[in-house]
């Protein structure tokens, strides 16, 4: 045996499989660089340039802070976000507690109803508010303030829209219970309030903090509700729109965007920190808790849930009802007049079909891209640094408000020297923008399901000389099919209902239904706007229904192995 020491510096015999993997990883990184990071950087650059494109340092920011009309919006935004977060998180906390820890009846029904706002465009609750509490609203006298157009309207509309987001996180947090802790507390004769403070609250602590930050970010960056019902009450997101569309002042738009990015980025960082703690919280040996019945508590909680769902149904019902009224409030006959969109602003029925087309493309292309990128970042070995970068970039869209991303796309893709300039004003840029806007949640869904798949499958395949893409097709994809379907329906629904990111990017040929809602409202056609919003919600619900059918019918056939 010759003991010659050989130094090997990395793999020299790269085969084509490894090359293919590298290629896909590189493509993924390139995609996120071009579609996310570079537009954002372009926007940052714009904020320190003047109209002619010359570098002027921070003077745009100096102008901004010297203008009280603009800086007031910061306080407005903070005000709205704080109130909404307070209302939504406390309501959702009790609601989630009722659904997971009480012996309340009709939990499934409450849960289904509470998810309805997810399918509505954020403009819908705002339009409902006009019909409920507006100048000719049916419940106008109930309103404690003078006008619904302002902070009260925004907070109410946003509360409706943000509620299911908070509820989903809190339900997950409450579900991670360990019955043994409660038994131990009971055996030591601990009073219920102390059990709540010492066992229940600590176990949902991280979920609660997480919810607060998610809701705060969602509401501080929202555009749709404030646009419709904000009146003279300006917030950061509407300021961006006004600067860009109203005054064509792109530099100031960039400045406001940078300011709006800050709270989002901060809460994003905090949220990631919290998330890291949460994972290790529950031991695998925990015994899930079976909720006990307690008539008085359950009754009170059921009453609370009924009232909450009642509010949600009232908002949706009002929009649906108003959309069928011939001419509010003078001719209250029911008709389909408001659904003749071709008579109105905003592109008519064509915009609805554009929206369908855009959503379908986003769902199909998006799911493919998201799944491939998640697969590459989770399951393969080459290029560890590039894969780290991929993971980091995939998390970033969560922190970027839609309206900021939209503006960043103008700056980047509308630049005459950009070779991708050609996609500006086409369906492609809408699909790209929407995909990036909702990327993070999809990525996390895909990663979570991939993490549950045995990490040694790739090693086994390699030992059996089966290429990785065969295993991806034959094993990994079938195993992850439920979450792939989840991602596609999530993308479809959000693409249908989003306004903020695409509001800067549509062209005359690619008008979108959600933007049409906004334009009809701007033109004073509130009823048709409500009609379109209802149509969007129905379409999303149909998509969700189809998703449900597919998950239950097709999956049952192809996933025979899941049954024991």
């Amino acid at each position: 045996m010759s003991a010659t020491l050989t130094r090997t510096g990395g793999r020299s015999d790269l085969d084509y499989e490894t090359w293919l993997q590298r290629l896909v990883v590189a493509a993924g990184v390139l995609f996120l660089l071009v579609a996310l990071l570079m537009p954002l950087l372009t926007m940052l650059v714009k904020s320190v340039q003047n109209g002619a494109g010359e570098f002027i340092g921070l003077s745009n920011f100096v102008d901004y802070f010297g203008n009280p009309a603009l800086t007031r919006s910061i306080l407005h935004s903070l005000n709205i976000a704080t109130w909404t977060t307070l209302i939504v998180v406390s309501t959702a906390f009790v609601f989630a507690y009722a659904l997971t820890r009480s012996g309340m009846v009709a939990k499934k029904g409450f849960r289904l109803l509470s998810m309805l706002p997810l399918f509505a465009p954020s403009l819908l609750p705002a339009l409902s508010m006009i019909y409920l509490f507006g100048n000719q609203g049916i419940l106008k006298d109930w309103l404690p303030v003078d006008s619904i157009y302002g902070p009260v309207g925004i907070v109410m509309g946003l509360s409706f829209w943000a509620f299911p987001h908070a509820l989903m996180i809190l339900i997950t947090a409450f579900s991670n219970s360990d019955a043994r802790l409660y038994e131990a507390a009971k055996s030591m004769k601990t009073p219920p309030w102390r059990v709540f403070l010492t066992v229940t609250l600590p176990s949902v602590r991280y979920g609660l903090i997480n919810t607060i930050f998610v809701i705060f970010t969602l509401t501080i960056t929202d555009f749709g509700v404030a646009k419709v019902i904000g009146g003279q009450y300006n917030v950061l997101a509407t300021d961006i729109y006004k600067q860009v569309v109203g005054q064509q002042n792109f530099q100031m738009g960039a400045v406001v965007s940078v300011i709006l990015l800050l709270p989002a980025l901060i809460s994003f960082v905090v949220e990631r920190r919290v998330q890291r703690h949460q994972s290790a919280q529950l031991s695998s040996r925990a015994v899930p808790m079976q909720p006990q019945k307690s008539p008085l508590r359950d009754g009170l909680l059921a009453l609370f849930c009924t009232l909450t769902c009642g509010f949600l149904l009232l908002v949706i019902g009002m929009a649906v009802y108003a959309s069928f009224i011939t001419f509010w409030p003078y001719n209250m006959d029911l008709s389909l007049n408001n659904y003749r969109f071709d008579m109105m602003d905003g592109g008519g029925w064509a915009s609805y079909f554009n929206s369908l087309q855009m959503s379908a493309w986003t769902a199909v292309i998006g799911t493919t891209v998201v799944f491939l990128v998640a697969y590459m970042s989770e399951k393969i070995k080459p290029m560890p640094t590039a894969r780290k970068l991929l993971q980091l970039l995939a998390m970033l869209p969560m922190a970027v408000p839609g309206i900021v991303l939209g503006l960043a796309y103008i700056f980047f893709f509308n630049h005459p020297q950009n070779p991708l300039n050609g996609i500006y004003g086409t369906m492609t840029i809408l699909v790209l923008n929407t995909l990036v806007h909702f990327y993070t949640v999809c990525h996390l869904t895909a990663v979570t399901s991939l993490k549950q798949i045995d990490g040694e499958f790739e090693a086994v395949s390699a030992s059996l000389k089966v290429p990785f893409y065969t295993t991806l097709r034959r094993v990994t994809l079938p195993l992850a099919l439920p979450s792939v379907l989840d991602i596609s329906v999530y993308l479809f629904v959000n693409a249908m209902t989003t306004v903020s990111a695409v509001v800067f990017l549509y062209s005359a040929e690619t008008t979108l239904a959600s933007v049409a809602v906004m334009h009809m409202d701007e033109a004073g056609d509130i009823a048709p706007a409500a009609a379109m919003a209802v149509l969007l919600m129905m379409t999303s619900l149909v998509a969700k229904g189809l998703h449900w059918l597919i998950s239950h019918q097709i999956l049952q056939r192809t996933q025979r192995w899941r049954q024991r």
């Binding site: 015999d13 086994v460 030992s463």
Partner: protein
Amino acid sequence: MSNSTPYLQIQHLCKSFGSFTALDDISLEIKEGEFICFLGPSGCGKTTLLRAIAGLEQQEEGRIVQAGRDVSTLPPQKRDFGIVFQSYALFPNLTVSENIAYGLTNVKMPRRERQQRVDALLEQIHLPDIGDKFPGQLSGGQQQRVALARALATEPGLLLLDEPLSALDARVRLHLRNEICTLQRKLGITTIMVTHDQDEALTMADRIVVMDHGRIAQVGTPEEIYQHPATEFVARFVGSMNLLPAEVLDRRHLMLGSKEVQVPMILPVCDQGTLGFRPESARLQAAPFGLNRDDNLVFQTRLEQVHFMGAFVRLEMMLDQELPPLHVDMPLEQMHSQQPAVGEWLWLSVPREALKFYPAEQSSSGTLGARDMGAGMRMDVAAMQVAGA
């Protein structure tokens, strides 16, 4: 080692994860058809070594030569091995037959022939009728046997087993041990198994590689490892061993706690060390008659506790307050005839062959001395030489 060319040669392998050294200059040769166990506590580098052989981890330095071919930098799919993991890693959405045939699909083979091969393998693992079931419908032991069949389906030259039995119940584990051994002997396939279970290693392996902190502590047959552990670590890890910290007075005398004892061997030149012997090698008697101190270590101990262990009893003996208690295993019959009482002082004797002395690592002169005395011998038996000199 010159009688046959080794099937697998590992030369100076190094690998670290950040500041953690997983493999520290590992060299090893494995003969064709051998059953090798990598044994060691978690974090000792045994799994990393296995994965480096498979190409699943890339070493920073060193060479791996398999069947005369340098595979050091080849990706796993270009190497020749089958692998079985602790988690089974069966594809849950494919049937047992499809799992086993997974690697056969890209070998151009007629469908009939492939099915025959799958059936033969199922026969071999004694599960002939489960081809149409899904992995989720099988027990853990059955799943692991299917994983074994899948790894063997492509007839690899090397079988790698990564803690294959660790996830199974004790009873199934014993059964599968035999089955794997029988199959391995029948096929004559070179096999490497990673385990942290010393019993598994001792019963299954032709040779054991004991690893510690990324280094090889000892290589040897199960008997060599058990009888002549080369280092204190091996002694501690394989089987149970009484290990007493000792101060060296001169070449024949040790301080154990506050007691001076004469040892029946020449001690290496050092200050500190550890004296060791296995619980079953010690004898107890009421009086020191017939004990030759030139051949035996002899001292008086007090019986503290008796643990019933089934076939034997384990007696806990106290030599000195400062020292950990000593264990002595005594067959049940002897226990009945001798009937030692708790609190009684007994004479404990250990024959010279069963005594080990490990010089403390920090005193380099001691280790050198040991090497000097064992000059010309293999390193791994040097300590034994010291003990038996």
